[in-house]
């Protein structure tokens, strides 16, 4: 996009970071624009004034608990629900008056919605037939698609003769065969068992990169969202509370809600006693120590109450007192869960607060800590995060 008239070096868009993160490029044109989008059912507001830009070839995840409005938003993109307010632009075209059967958008349903009276082949060909595509062309596209999802031998089967994983792939093939500008996926892996889900996740990502189609995925599974997406939009009560890459969402959650929703987190309440440009000190009775964080929180008045978030894997457990003054507290191990690659400990601090800490099991047969052990917990100044909302 960069050219000589803007004064930007032409190489700018070729920088790997820029090319893969169009949302950080002020000149990138969003592919899908949601502008002040709302949807109300009677008195209930399912989608509340959402504005969001999604870029071409993104795999964008809408993440949220049930009833947060993510499915409604997806159905609005597909055209099954009309917006109460605001508008949706796809590739610059307002979608308001375009019915679902004319939108360049396809959807993979949570239930897969495979037509039970048609074969795998018939299911995949259905969309192409509606376009009035000539028969040989349909056959070619369908067999290409079957090849792509590795179901070449199953063309003549009916949906009920397939396993769950195969059905999922048929549903995906059926939604992709029309080469939509945008593919919507409603809980695409929700019905699969865990082992299959992991494989399918990677298949889905490879497929998306190969076909270069923009994906919008709705899920309530944070792990799924973390693995799949280029960016995640966390939703709550009809609003998008944070948009960012999986890393941003996990390491820099903007609120307690997001921190709690993605992964597990320990939250300590405390009062700000010192707020400088390069650090804050927070006195926390819950943590039982002085919390020192190496980033300033400028908009905070000293003395105000804030939360400090520390992820379980960032807490070190030790028997001996670590050599640091701040961010050290003591407790008794109450529960141990051995998970194989790591162990999860639940520790009761002297304030009565329960803290969760995970430690990788680096060596075989290292059960360093066990029930009733008195331990020190510590973390680095850059590992914690101050949350004001």
């Amino acid at each position: 996009m960069a050219d000589s008239t803007t004064g930007r070096p032409p190489a700018a868009s070729n920088e790997p970071g820029q090319a893969r993160e169009p949302w950080n490029d002020p000149e990138a044109v969003p592919y899908i624009q949601l502008e002040n989008l709302s949807k109300r059912f009677g008195n209930f507001t399912a989608v509340d004034n959402i504005s969001l830009d999604i870029y071409k070839s993104e795999l964008f995840c809408l993440l949220g608990g049930s009833g947060c409005g993510k499915s409604t938003l997806l159905r609005m993109l597909a055209g099954f629900e009309a917006a109460s307010e605001g508008r949706i632009l796809l590739d610059g075209v307002d979608m308001a008056d375009i019915p679902p059967y004319e939108r360049p958008v396809n959807m993979m349903f949570q239930s897969y919605a495979l037509f039970p009276h048609m074969t795998v082949q018939g299911n995949i060909a259905f969309g192409l037939k509606q376009e009035g595509m000539p028969r040989p062309e349909i056959d070619r596209r369908v067999s290409d698609m079957l090849e792509l999802v590795k179901l070449g031998d199953y063309a003549k089967r009916k949906p009920h003769q397939l396993s769950g994983g195969q059905r999922q792939r048929v549903a995906l093939a059926r939604a992709l065969v029309k080469r939509p500008k945008l593919l919507l996926l409603d809980e695409p892996l929700g019905a699969l068992d865990k082992k299959l889900r992991e494989n399918t996740q990677f298949e889905l990502m490879t497929l998306q990169e190969e076909l270069d189609i923009t994906f919008v995925v709705v899920t309530h599974d944070q792990e799924e969202a973390m693995t799949l997406s280029s960016r995640i939009g966390v939703m709550d009560q009809g609003r998008i509370v944070q948009v960012g890459s999986p890393n941003e969402i996990y390491e820099h959650p903007s609120s307690r809600l997001v921190a709690n929703f993605i992964g597990s987190v320990n939250l300590f309440e405390g009062n700000v006693v010192e707020d400088e440009a390069d650090h804050v000190r927070i006195q926390s009775a819950e943590a039982g120590c002085m919390l020192y964080i190496d980033h300033g929180v400028n908009q905070i008045v000293e003395g105000s109450r804030v939360s400090v978030a520390v992820r379980p894997e960032k807490i070190k457990i030790s028997r001996d007192s670590p050599e640091q003054e701040d961010n050290v507290t003591r407790g008794v191990i109450e529960e141990v869960a051995y998970m194989g690659s790591l162990s999860i400990y639940r520790i009761r601090l002297s304030s009565g607060v329960m803290v969760q800490a995970t430690q990788p099991n680096l060596d075989r047969d290292t059960r360093q800590f066990t029930w009733e052990d008195e331990v020190y917990l510590s973390w680095n100044p850059y590992s914690a995060l101050v949350l004001t909302t």
């Binding site: 597909a78 055209g79 099954f80 019915p99 679902p100 059967y101 004319e102 958008v105 396809n106 959807m107 349903f109 949570q110 239930s111 919605a113 037509f115 039970p116 009276h117 259905f126 969309g127 509606q130 376009e131 089967r157 009916k158 009920h160 003769q161 397939l162 396993s163 994983g165 195969q166 059926r174 939604a175 029309k178």
Partner: protein, 282 residues
């Protein structure tokens, strides 16, 4: 110990008595249809002459053909109308008068046949006075009457089938570019087809079986098979009616047998499909 033994003997006895209660009348009917005597209650030797007699009885043949015609016509019309009603009730969630429509379309299920018959008769008479149609009562009025009460059954069957159907199937078809009418014919109809077939069969059976309503709304020259049998029996049971009943029982038994075989086959196919679906993926 004794009580268990007692119970073991008690249950088969119950079963035998129940079956006897149900089937001895039918069995005796079949046996007496091969009776040589003109008197229904006196056995005088084996003969099939009443079957020959039956096929020479033009009145019964005509009535049977008329009943078949009415049943086919009314079943077809009831399926079309009942499907529309069932579709509206299942798919359109909220509109003015929905409860009224639902109640009214279900009413014929619980309405006594006498009332239905009488009210239809009065309606046809009033209509004829006002418009001159239907001109007298006969096959048309019986067919219309049968449609009105059997379409309610079809509506119930279609509605429950549609309620079971995953609504995202229709959305998926629309999402893939099918217009609403196309969705209905390409997706909805094939999926509810079993309900349409069973609805048609039920409407057909109800029509063939109906005596009360037909007696009210039929006219001269349009006596259905149940009407003819009933009037003949009132004059005394003749052996050719036994022969006719035996033939009907034979047809019904054959139908049940075929249905059972089809069901068995379906089960076997389902077992095979389940095995196919559970095969490990390569």
């Amino acid at each position: 110990m004794k009580s268990i033994l007692g119970r073991i003997r008690f249950l088969p006895v119950c079963l035998a008595l129940g079956l006897a209660f149900l089937y001895i009348p039918i069995l005796s009917l079949i046996i007496y249809s091969f009776n040589e005597s003109k008197l229904v209650t006196v056995w005088s030797g084996f003969s099939t002459k009443w079957y020959g007699e039956l096929f020479r009885n033009q009145q019964i043949i005509d009535a049977a053909l008329l009943s078949l015609r009415i049943a086919v016509m009314s079943a077809c019309a009831a399926v079309v109308l009942g499907t529309i009603a069932g579709f509206v009730l299942a798919r359109m969630r909220r509109f003015r008068g929905r409860t009224l429509l639902a109640g009214m379309s279900m009413a014929p299920l619980v309405m006594p046949e006498i009332i239905t018959g009488l009210s239809l008769l009065l309606f046809f008479i009033a209509l004829e006075k006002m418009t001159g149609w239907p001109n007298g009562r006969g096959i048309t009025t019986v067919t219309i009457a049968h449609i009105t009460f059997s379409m309610a059954y079809v509506a119930v069957i279609v509605q429950s089938r549609l309620a079971d159907m995953d609504p995202s199937l229709e959305e998926a078809a629309m999402d893939l570019g099918a217009r609403p009418l196309k969705v209905f014919f390409a997706i909805t109809l094939p999926i509810v087809a079993p309900a349409l077939i069973s609805g048609w069969l039920l409407a057909f059976t109800l029509s063939i079986d109906d005596l009360v309503i037909a007696s009210f709304v039929s006219g001269p020259g349009a006596s259905t098979l149940p009407m003819v049998i009933f009037s003949k029996v009132r004059l005394g049971v003749s052996p050719d009616i036994n022969a006719l009943a035996t033939i009907i029982i034979g047809i019904v038994a054959l139908g049940v047998l075929l249905a059972a075989l089809a069901f068995k086959r379906q089960e076997r196919l389902q077992g095979r499909d389940a095995r196919l679906a559970n095969l490990p993926e390569d």
